[in-house]
Symmetry: C2
Subunit: 628 residues, 2 copies
């Protein structure tokens, strides 16, 4: 029972249509102009403005009820962000006030341009560490603090430019080349590296290594045993860390008590600062004076010329990409939870603009923070107004209470950072990756060990390399499968997956599970011939019918290039020498068009190309099918 | 009429088996140990020796008849290679004798270790140009000829090490990442660049630019009009070029007269040398003295320490890879013509060893030459003995007649090189690529213009980048298709390819044409939802049945990773909100296993996974199928 159908050849598109289709699918997959269709011009302009400034859209529906949610959420994340900002700015080797500045201006810009309702904007641990490591390779922050800050603003500027450009040119898909598994490993490694860095403040070590790998840090830690760790600091640090972890555990166990974990850091800061203030316990190991007042302008500090221009660009581009990866992942996660859409490219423009403006107002790279966004969501935020509330609190802090922080012990900040970054270690996801895909897990491990044993940049490089290598390997060594007939049907399936499937005597049916490209064309040809050789050997042993037909099932072959067609020609020649006929089944639209253009259809004969494997078997081994 | 079969889940392999299968398929796809199976140990050793030195195998069957073929072929390619070697060594900025040395030792090594019967070994134009350009960026060959030669031998050594290592570690598939189209473009660009370089000798220009891009060369040429081109040289060069091109045309038109084109260069050299000798026509513009005698040792000249070590390694690695690409392509082409097998990895070891030995005997990078191999094949070569014959002739030339070359005009060498490299411009293949695949053609053009407008290295970089970008793009934006039912069958096919295929009311059937990976998981999800949105809009317009089922045909989905499963989960959630049920059809062995590991099968329900689209439609839209 053949289908009676011939393989269809779709109408040939002209070059321009083909090209514009490809461009559209690559860059405008989300069809951003759909909503502008059939509208008057004034409406189009209004929609366009709304597109750039989503605040124009959601602010019209804003209500007092929503503001209540935003107010509470904003206050909660503000209490969390102030101590974190001070700690993270240290990771970036920048003064503490720069961390606070970065939680004031960027969230305001994002509130106007961003489309995520749940993201909390500000400095984050991983980007701070990355920036700190890359910048101190260029300038020593201790001896040249001014040049260091200038380079940091330069990098921030170019991080913003990179982000905005990726979004504007709709190249957002580039960040998707960093695989989920690699990010999990990278984040966990960065978390451990950051936690280890905190041993400096935690143990009160004066001469701490500048390197971030675990070996150097551990040497530094043990090397300082003799110089004496500061036992008071350790005691204070350890007890507050315990307090923070308990608070975190409570927040995790009972979702309603999430605020316990959210305000625990601020409470630690207040208690410890008060304690130091009244006891004058320790003149050392406390936060240095934080400058009072809001962000000074810094546009004139950015290096637009000179040798630091390209350095700043390079560092900024890397930090900007990592920042994007984090922000987009957060945006998508919460958008999925609340069922609204995030336009990745638009988000990138918003984040980029925010960092460009930030670089001119003494901020360093800000992005979405995992921990604060989660708290924001649980505290019931409704819109980006929560970010405005947080920003206002940070502004008031800068104007009024920064002098008090000079009594805050460093050990407390270290505890807060440790407890925050531990949340970046997502062992559940890592376990799931292990269960589902071992090669993915290898990428995860590679990124993880790269970060902790070498450096953040190197770990990142490993993560990207493994992610790409995995794709390329799959394209180089695609799977092939031997097909058999499911009894009493015309269906042919992989004999490994379906033990019932029986081979057809005298016919070998092979399915190629990939596009046939220059990377794999030679392998595919050789592999098909190896299937044939294996099969012929088996048949000689068992004295079965000689193979006369080789059917290649092309359903999964979604594309072919000139090398691929060349490989098919070679396969045809090799088979002709063995007196075996080559038959093709179900070539897709692109494949059949290219086979025709290259005149391969004439070479093999149109009568050798079938709609289904079943049709081909019916024609060339009719006895088998009669039994159906 | 459902098939009555369930989706099969193949038996789960343990981790080790899975891993070793993957390693085997990646590195030992050609199953090199197959022939050693079930053999006594002594036989295995003998086979192993034969594996490394194929000469042990074929020499036992060698006969006088075969030698006749090899002798004629060897003499023919020797006559071709001597003038070419002298010319090519100039492209590499090396003394002419080094070119001849490289046609003496390397072919002998290859004859013992190589497995191609038709390849002709020696210096080639493209590698010479590449090496020359890269080396002169480091050391000026005019002011420091000794250091330059030493760096050239160092690069040759590491070219050999790279080639042998790639073969030994079975990483040969790496060179397949350079696509056919990119190679065609690169070669054509290199040919034009080389031809332009010959204008120096051809026009007798003294102050010629060191750059290779077309703009600089043309400036150099016109800038020297006033200084006067050398009209005698031009006349001699042009007339011999015409002679060579006519000879080539004759050889191409009548395959039996191929020898006309093969010996034309040597005849030109002899005539012109004789002419200069008797007329003392020109003291300038002739080949400098060529040192008499065979290869002096050069092992001690290689830089194994110092700053030039890493430079030499870098240049060698690039030149080695390009050399490999050319040699392997030639080997495969002629093996296919004569129907024997070439083991790519083994060939690489042979080519690598040959260059390592070459670097110690004053040779520069040698590889297989397109033009000489073709002549070798047409002259009836039988085995690698043709290379031995050629090598012997070169040796005799070095010992006896090199002093005569000092009367050979440079213009003749330029003509020979121009006529040789014109054969590298394969416009027929380029036209075929244009017809079959426009994006491939873009890669071809990119490599071509990169070489002629910038430099050989840059063109190479463009070629590799476009080749990789093409793969990555395909993995990022895979095709999806809407399926319809072919009337009176249970077959579902792409509605664009089969206009007969009709959509099933109330059911949307989408096929995803690629593995679902982190690079495309988000796109695939969004794209499926866009198909749904488009369809729903159409149905609202035409007042058709509401869609209740979305069937995703997974036949071409050969793999899925954690990001992919995550995307399916999000798709499921999005559909649940619209009260549409998600149904999967024909997941492959890997996909079904991973879906199970990740418990996605529980989430969607085992009853929503079908063997074929037909089965799924039968269950959920039975009215449609009743009409069959």
């Amino acid at each position: 029972m053949g289908s009676g159908y011939k393989v269809g050849v779709p109408p040939k598109k002209n070059l321009f249509a083909e090209f514009s289709d490809a461009v559209k699918e690559t860059f405008f997959a989300d069809d951003p102009l759909r909503q502008y269709k059939d509208l008057p011009k004034s409406k189009k302009i209004w929609l366009g403005l709304q597109h750039v400034f989503p605040v124009l859209d959601w602010s019209r529906m804003y209500s007092l009820g929503k503001f209540k949610g935003d107010l509470i959420a904003g206050l909660t994340i503000a209490s969390l962000c102030i101590p974190q900002d001070i700690g993270y700015s240290k990771l970036a080797n920048l003064p503490a006030e720069v961390g606070l500045y970065s939680s004031f201006v960027p969230p305001l810009i994002y509130a106007v341009m961003g489309s995520s309702r749940d993201i909390a904007i500000g400095p984050v641990a991983v980007v701070s560490l990355l920036l700190g490591t890359l910048l101190q390779n260029e300038i020593d922050p201790k001896t040249h603090p001014q040049e260091y800050s200038r380079l940091a603003f330069t990098a921030t500027f170019f991080a913003g430019v990179t982000q905005a450009a990726l979004g504007f040119f709709r190249l957002g898909f580039i960040i998707e080349f960093l695989s989920h598994a690699a990010i999990i490993g990278f984040m966990a490694g960065a978390a451990i590296t950051i936690a280890l860095q905190q041993l400096k403040g935690f143990l009160g070590i004066a001469n701490f290594t500048k390197k971030t790998d675990i070996v150097s840090v551990m040497k530094s830690v043990w090397g300082n045993v003799h110089h004496g760790w500061n036992w008071q600091t350790i005691l204070i640090g350890a007890s507050f860390l315990a307090f923070l972890l308990v608070a975190k555990y409570i927040g995790k166990k009972n979702k309603k008590l999430f605020w316990v974990s959210a305000i625990a850091p601020l409470i630690s800061v207040i208690i410890s600062t008060f304690f130091v203030y009244i006891t004058h316990a320790d003149k050392h190991g406390v936060v240095k004076n934080i400058k009072k007042g809001i962000n000074p302008p810094s546009a004139s500090l950015i290096y637009f010329t000179g040798p630091y221009l390209s350095t700043g660009f390079r560092i900024g581009a890397v930090a900007g990409m990592i920042g994007l990866t984090e922000a987009i992942a957060i945006g998508r996660t919460f958008a999925a939870l609340k069922d609204y859409q995030i336009d990745g490219n638009k988000e990138m423009v918003a984040l980029g603009t925010m960092n460009i403006v930030g670089s001119m107002t003494s901020c360093y790279v800000a992005t979405g923070s995992f921990s604060r966004s989660a708290v924001n969501y649980m505290a019931g935020c409704q819109t980006a107004v929560a970010n405005v509330v947080m920003s206002t609190v940070v502004m008031l802090t800068l104007l009024l209470i920064t002098p008090l922080f000079k009594y805050t012990p460093n050990a407390i900040l270290s505890s807060i950072i440790i407890s925050a970054v531990l949340g970046l270690i997502d062992y559940e996801s890592a376990y799931l990756i292990w269960k589902v895909d071992k090669l993915d897990f290898l990428a995860c491990l590679g990124a993880f060990f790269g970060v902790i044993f070498s450096s953040v940049e190197y770990g990142l490089l490993i993560a990207v390399a493994i992610s790409l290598a995995k794709i390329l390997l799959q394209v180089t060594r695609p799977r092939t499968a031997l097909l058999g007939n499911l009894p009493r049907t015309t269906i042919y399936r992989n004999v490994e997956q379906y033990p019932d499937a029986t081979k057809v005597p005298g016919v070998l049916i092979v399915r190629v599970d990939s596009a046939i490209y220059f990377t794999n064309s030679n392998y595919v040809k050789e592999r098909i011939l190896r299937w044939l050789r294996d099969e012929e050997e088996q048949q000689q042993d068992q004295k079965l019918t000689k193979i006369e037909f080789l059917i290649v099932e092309l359903s999964p072959v979604i594309d072919i290039d000139t090398s691929g067609i060349h490989a098919l020609e070679e396969l045809l020649k090799a088979l002709e020498k063995r007196k075996i006929q080559l038959v093709l089944a179900n070539p897709g639209p692109v494949v059949i068009q290219k086979l025709r253009s290259a005149k391969f259809t004439d070479l093999i004969g149109e009568d050798k190309i079938f709609l289904t494997v079943g049709d081909a078997v019916k024609k060339y081994a009719p006895r088998v099918v009669e039994n159906v």
